[in-house]
């Protein structure tokens, strides 16, 4: 029974394809891809609607408010109302704008985010686009976002848009390096760029209950944290939402967009967040594997989306609690801290691997990361002088 | 009908000629760089096409050359564009026709 529930979507797709059995090969392929694509799109669009509501609700709770609660029971129909509002708003295009580029930018921003969702394994045998170099595909497609952001900034012909786009590109290019290099230890240990192989390498349990997830290794934990921070930057989320900092440059590269085009940017941001979180789950949190061996009867996709949900909650939580950083702080942090730490993760993973994955390797790689972390923070904080903190009213 | 090696070669020579057109006929330094990048990419396609159409099992030599040449093209673009910026700071132009002095 649990076997059937686990594979229910795979079996369903096979059933849907069975009437085409005698048809030519290319037709079957096209129909098969269309089914996968529409499944992913429907799933993530509904997740996007849910997420936009949940984010407002959770933020409101953090700030001691109620959040949206007028439309439908508990405000559940709020995303629908938002969507209708966005659709019927006037679509304003500035007179001096570069019309074609201005029009194409939202599409170009959304397309890579959706494409990147294609290579993530959502469950056992449930990778929509299973290619050998899936991880590379993810990053290759993701790198096209920068050009799209530039198109938005340039096409609007507005100085706030241009400044926002420049900020966005600068920080995305800078954080792409740590993002890529933190993936490196995982790829190195598994010996494959395919997400399915990476999930398979994290299967099994030590002593019957500790899963072999990479996040439980010292190098994996450090790499996961670095990956998550870089992911926050890549998806332009607080505390790194400098490109669209409302108090500084209106809305960055989205300033001149309104109505449905703005909604597309909004959607692309969330899709990017889903994609990064999905990849983090795949790389470090064991993908669709159950965390405890006696819970394997629960279908694999449930586990994947549970982990995804936890990561997305952390995204919202961080947004609710941390203030925005300054531009120079963001850039300094990338080059002076993130990059050296990412390289240290690679080194620690190599040590762990050559110590035959035992307890001594665990300790050695932990020691390497701890020593480099302490030295690096000492070095970076060496010439900073902070006045002793005084509290005027709290005492 | 499946595309033959000839079709790929004709395509890449067309791309090469377009790159040549951009490099020869434009006066703007960045256009010339774009043209050079296109010519390099066309040559790259040839390596992969020859590798794919070679008979029998063989080493992935063409693919290796393509990967290396992509890396070199990236380095070339970086240095080339840095040169354009340096020249622009100095002479306030990117028009290659006006760069006719040996004196800095």
């Amino acid at each position: 029974m649990s076997e059937f529930l686990d594979q229910i979507f795979v079996i369903g797709k096979r059933r849907a394809l069975s009437p085409l059995a005698g048809m030519p090969d290319w037709l079957q392929q096209i129909v098969s891809s269309l089914i996968s694509i529409s499944a992913v799109l429907v799933l993530f669009l509904s997740l996007f609607a849910m997420m936009s509501l949940l984010e407002r609700k959770i933020l409101a709770r953090i700030q001691n408010r109620y959040g949206p609660n007028r439309v439908g029971p508990f405000g559940l129909l709020q995303p629908l109302a938002d969507g209708i509002k966005m659709l019927i708003k006037e679509d304003i295009v500035p007179i001096r704008a570069d019309k074609v580029v201005h029009f194409l930018a939202p599409i170009m921003v959304a397309a890579p985010a959706i494409l990147a969702l294609g290579v993530i394994p959502y469950g056992r045998n449930m990778t929509p686009f299973a290619i050998d170099g899936g991880i590379l595909f993810f990053f290759a497609v993701g790198s096209a976002t920068e050009l799209a952001v530039f198109m938005a900034g340039w096409g609007s012909n507005n100085k706030f848009s241009m400044l926002g786009a420049m900020r966005a590109i600068a920080q995305m290019v800078s954080y792409e390096l740590p993002l890529l290099i933190t993936v490196l230890p995982v790829v190195m240990i598994v010996g494959s760029l395919s997400p399915d192989a990476i999930v398979a390498a994290q299967s099994g349990y030590k002593l019957g209950f500790i899963p072999h997830w990479f996040v439980l290794k010292p190098w994996g934990a450090a790499a996961f944290l670095l990956f998550f921070i870089s992911g926050l930057v890549e998806s332009n989320r607080t505390p790194f939402d400098v490109p669209e900092g409302e108090s500084e440059i209106v809305a960055g590269h989205m300033t001149e967009y309104s109505g449905f085009k703005y909604a597309t940017f909004f959607m692309a941001e969330y899709f990017g967040m889903f994609a990064i979180s999905g990849l983090a789950v795949t790389l470090f949190l064991g993908g669709w594997q159950a965390p405890i061996s006696w819970l394997t009867f629960i279908p694999s996709y449930v586990w994947f989306f549970a982990k995804l949900g936890v990561l997305l909650f952390v995204f919202i939580w961080i947004r609710g609690t941390l203030p925005r950083t300054r531009v120079d702080q963001v850039m300094n942090f990338a080059w002076k801290f993130m990059l050296p730490m990412a390289f240290t993760c690679v080194l620690a993973a190599a040590v762990w691997h050559y110590a035959a994955h035992g307890i001594s390797g665990w300790l050695a790689s932990f020691a390497i990361i701890a020593v480099v972390y302490v030295l690096l923070s000492r070095l970076l904080g060496a010439h900073k002088r902070f006045a002793t903190r005084t509290y005027r009213f709290a005492e | 009908m499946t595309p033959t090696l000839q079709l790929f070669l004709v395509f890449s020579s067309a791309l090469f000629s377009i790159g040549l057109l951009a490099a020869l006929s434009r006066r703007h330094a960045i256009f010339i760089l774009i043209g050079i990048e296109m010519m390099l990419a066309a040559a790259n396609l040839n390596f992969v096409a020859f590798w794919r159409f070679a008979p029998g099992p063989h080493e992935p030599t063409g693919v290796m050359v393509a990967i290396f040449s992509i890396a070199i093209a990236a380095a070339e673009a970086g240095v080339g564009l840095a040169l354009v910026i340096a020249v622009y700071r100095h002479i306030r132009t990117t028009n290659v026709d006006q760069l006719d002095q040996l004196k800095g």
Binding site: W26, V101, G133, E146, M151 | I18, I30, L45, I72, L81
Partner: protein
């Protein structure tokens, strides 16, 4: 390999490349250049070299196109007229193309159809890169480092005395 796919990709790529060579606005040229590079990556996919296609997108669209766009922004001047292509360039390019195409069509050994082959896995590429091609790989690493440092030195604002 599919001829429909070949023709579609070829038309898009060549059109984008022509636009990149002929457009008057530099930014537009840089953007359609990215489209041409994506088309080339599609060709690599068609040829069964997926890794090269992905690297092509990663390097050209993610890095080179961004570099070009940034350079355009840094060297922009108001009121500068950018002329279109001149005719001598068109003539030379056409002559080169007809010469190359003629040579390709007159060579009988090039009319080959692709043999069936086992897919080239990323693992195989990695192993080849780390064994037979280790020296070129190291040289490329050195070259890229040198290029990085060189580009920085060129662009850095020198201290004026």
């Amino acid at each position: 390999m599919n001829s429909v796919a070949f023709i579609a990709i070829a038309v898009v790529t060549l059109g984008a490349a022509l636009a990149a060579a002929l457009l008057r606005k530099l930014i537009h040229a840089a953007l359609v250049l990215a489209v041409a590079f994506i088309g080339l990556a599609a060709f690599y996919f068609l040829l069964g070299a997926e890794f090269v296609g992905l690297v092509q997108i990663f390097v050209y669209v993610g890095a080179v196109a961004i570099l070009i766009v940034f350079t355009i922004l840094l060297t922009r001047r108001e009121g500068e007229t950018i002329r279109g292509p001149n005719w001598s360039g068109v003539i030379i390019a056409t002559a080169v193309f007809s010469g190359l195409a003629w040579a390709v069509y007159k060579t009988p050994s090039l009319a080959a159809v692709a043999p069936t082959f086992e897919a080239l896995t990323v693992k195989r590429i990695g192993e080849t890169l780390m064994t037979d091609y280790i020296w070129p790989l190291l040289c490329i690493g050195l070259l890229l480092t040198a290029a990085l440092v060189g580009a920085l030195v060129l662009v850095m604002e020198g201290k004026r005395e």
